[in-house]
């Protein structure tokens, strides 16, 4: 699996309140919610993002609320993956559970700038900055988490294992 697109770059500690403000959480409609993705720190994001584009953050990306709506709106906006130095733990779980690819890579988050064209190979974790001619190696997921991703998210993984007594 691969992705290639233009980069939207954000600072450290991007929180779930700016990814999707709580004032919109009276809806569960992913397409409706995605119209407000990143609205409070980058009102232009939703107008500029194209399918396959890549979001890059710093430390502690996705901190704050447990709202699963946050990775969901990023995914629904067409963003192919998020690269950051580190992810807040609930966001990390939620992204895996709903199938938004995320990669932890400090060198990539430092080296990549807004507007760069970047390609990602999810199987190897190799991130290529086509604009700068640089490559970076992301941390691979542990096998346990790779299994969830391969199954297509947590619920599919549980069903395949026959984990529900009902």
């Amino acid at each position: 699996m691969n992705a290639q697109g233009t980069v939207f770059k954000y600072p450290d500690n991007v929180d779930t309140d700016v990814i999707i403000p709580a004032r919109y959480l009276n809806s569960q409609d992913a397409a409706e919610l995605a119209r407000h993705c990143m609205e409070d720190i980058d009102p232009d994001f939703v107008n500029k993002v194209k399918p396959g584009d890549i979001m890059v953050g710093g430390w502690n990306f996705g901190c704050g609320s447990s709202r699963e709506h946050a990775p969901l709106v990023i995914k629904t906006s067409g963003t192919a993956c998020v690269i950051a130095k580190s992810f807040a733990r609930i966001f990390y779980r939620n992204a895996i559970n709903i199938g938004l690819p995320i990669l932890e890579c400090e060198a990539a988050a430092d080296g990549i700038e807004a507007g760069d064209e970047v390609a990602v190979d999810f199987d190897t974790g190799v991130i290529t900055n086509l604009s700068k001619g640089e490559t970076y190696q992301a941390q691979p997921f542990p096998p346990f988490i790779q299994d969830i991703i391969r199954a297509g998210g947590l619920m599919n993984s549980i069903r395949q294992k026959g984990g529900n007594k009902a």
Binding site: A22, N26, Q28, G64, E68, M155, I158, R159, N164, K165
Partner: protein, 420 residues
């Protein structure tokens, strides 16, 4: 190498003699929780996956607290969806308007969470229940759906940071000041993926409400959970309240901690987190030039009885400053009723404040106190991110109930020890 208290609870729930930091485990859950924002998403996942039953109807908790009594048609639809699901699966702990409270004030108060439990909740502040000696952590809606169906969840066993508490808090200094001070010291990702283990002789001096507040904001340091040892204070709290037998786990003497911080409780000052991160801490004294438009006292962090009492002690017989809007929100119906019986609600109203029934409302910019452009609020809530309580150019200053109440009287941020 021995295990921390968190690791012991996780090992027991995974059916293992021993676990190590970094190990991935499947653990049995004692309680699963969701609210009116996260539960509808979980219900959709649950139904989409084709599940037709829950693992245990007495161990699932659905609390309508974020947008109730419903603020608009869309939130009413979400509450309705929760209500219908609770009815269909005969969920015992379903809390609707009239019975509800803010989830993390309600579940400990009702004795639903207890020592030794392993708990997940689709709300980031689920880490609150570490105060009663449980392992408890926030997850997303899909994890909640899987938890409701199977009674299990996967975890990476966390490494630990120890906070060794000594001394005793000074007058008008509370658990909120302790946790804001700690977040200021270690940063908003200072405990990322880790457990925060509170130990030492200072623990015994902290009330249960202080401990619940401290564990509540562990997530604001990035932690997986916060946890207190079970002591006399815990046992007094649980006795006659806990609906189930509890189990006391203690850390091994040779448990491994990545770091240990020494915290002298006596040295902690009334603390305020400036916008737009909880780690931007200053003392209340350093913050006195900051004028405020609104004061919020409540939330899952500070909506408990001692919080209301701290506000009452400062506001009784006085009037809040002209131009300041005072909003007080007791965390549960029981706290609300006790405030009423004690005459505190009357004192709040006479001081010029409004008193709402329990809701998360203003904390997350939902309703009941949204800020306009350029407005400032001192709030006992837990987050001061950009746009958290309203306009992206509004500001939230996090503080204790005493500091918030003192600031309401003067109209600017005020050290509560400087008012009568």
């Amino acid at each position: 190498m021995g295990m921390t208290m968190t690791q012991k609870i996780l090992a027991a729930h995974a059916g293992l003699d021993e676990v190590k930091a970094g190990q991935l485990i499947n653990a049995r859950l004692d309680q699963v929780l969701g609210n009116d924002i996260t539960t509808p998403v979980a219900i959709n996942e649950f139904e989409k996956a084709g599940f037709t039953g829950v693992f245990d109807r007495s161990r699932i908790n659905i609390v309508l607290d974020h947008f109730v009594p419903n603020k608009d048609i869309k939130s009413a639809q979400q509450s309705k969806q929760c209500r219908e699901f609770a009815s269909k699966y005969d969920i015992i702990n379903f809390f609707d308007v009239g019975k509800m409270g803010i989830e993390h004030a309600l579940l400990p108060e009702q004795g639903i969470v207890t020592a030794g439990d392993c708990i997940i909740g689709a709300d980031s502040h689920t880490c609150t229940y570490g105060a009663v000696g449980a392992f408890s952590t926030g997850v997303g809606s899909t994890d909640m759906a899987a938890g409701m169906a199977t009674g299990m969840a996967w975890f990476k066993v966390p490494a630990a940071i120890r906070f060794n508490l000594t001394g005793k808090l000074g007058p008008r200094v509370s658990g909120k000041d302790v946790i804001l001070h700690i977040i200021g010291m270690i940063g908003v990702d200072g405990a990322l993926y880790k457990s925060m283990e509170f130990t030492g002789p200072g623990v015994a001096t902290l009330s249960m409400d202080d401990r619940l507040c401290i564990c509540n904001m562990a997530i604001e340091a990035g932690a997986k959970n916060g946890i207190f040892p079970v002591d006399e204070v815990t046992l007094r709290y649980l006795t006659g309240r806990s609906r189930r037998e509890w189990t006391v786990y203690e850390a091994d003497p040779d448990a491994e901690y990545e770091q240990t911080f020494e915290i002298d409780l006596a040295a902690i000052e009334p603390t305020v987190s400036w916008p737009h991160l909880p780690e931007n801490t200053h003392t209340a004294k350093e913050s006195e030039a900051i004028a405020i438009d609104q004061v919020v006292i409540g939330s899952c962090t500070n909506g408990r009885l001692e919080d209301m009492q701290a506000a009452y002690e400062i506001l009784k017989g006085k009037t809040i400053a002209p131009g300041v809007r005072g909003i007080i929100i007791p965390g549960t119906m029981q706290v609300y009723k006790t405030c009423l019986q004690n005459g505190w609600l009357e004192a709040f109203i006479d001081a010029g404040c409004i008193v709402s029934t329990p809701t998360c409302g203003p904390c997350l910019g939902g309703y009941m106190g949204i800020l306009a452009e350029g407005e400032r609020c001192i709030s006992t809530t837990n987050r001061n991110f950009v746009g958290r309580m309203g306009h992206v150019k509004s500001e939230v200053y996090l503080a204790s109930p005493a500091t918030a109440a003192a600031s309401a009287l003067t109209g600017h941020i005020t050290d509560p020890r400087e008012v009568e």
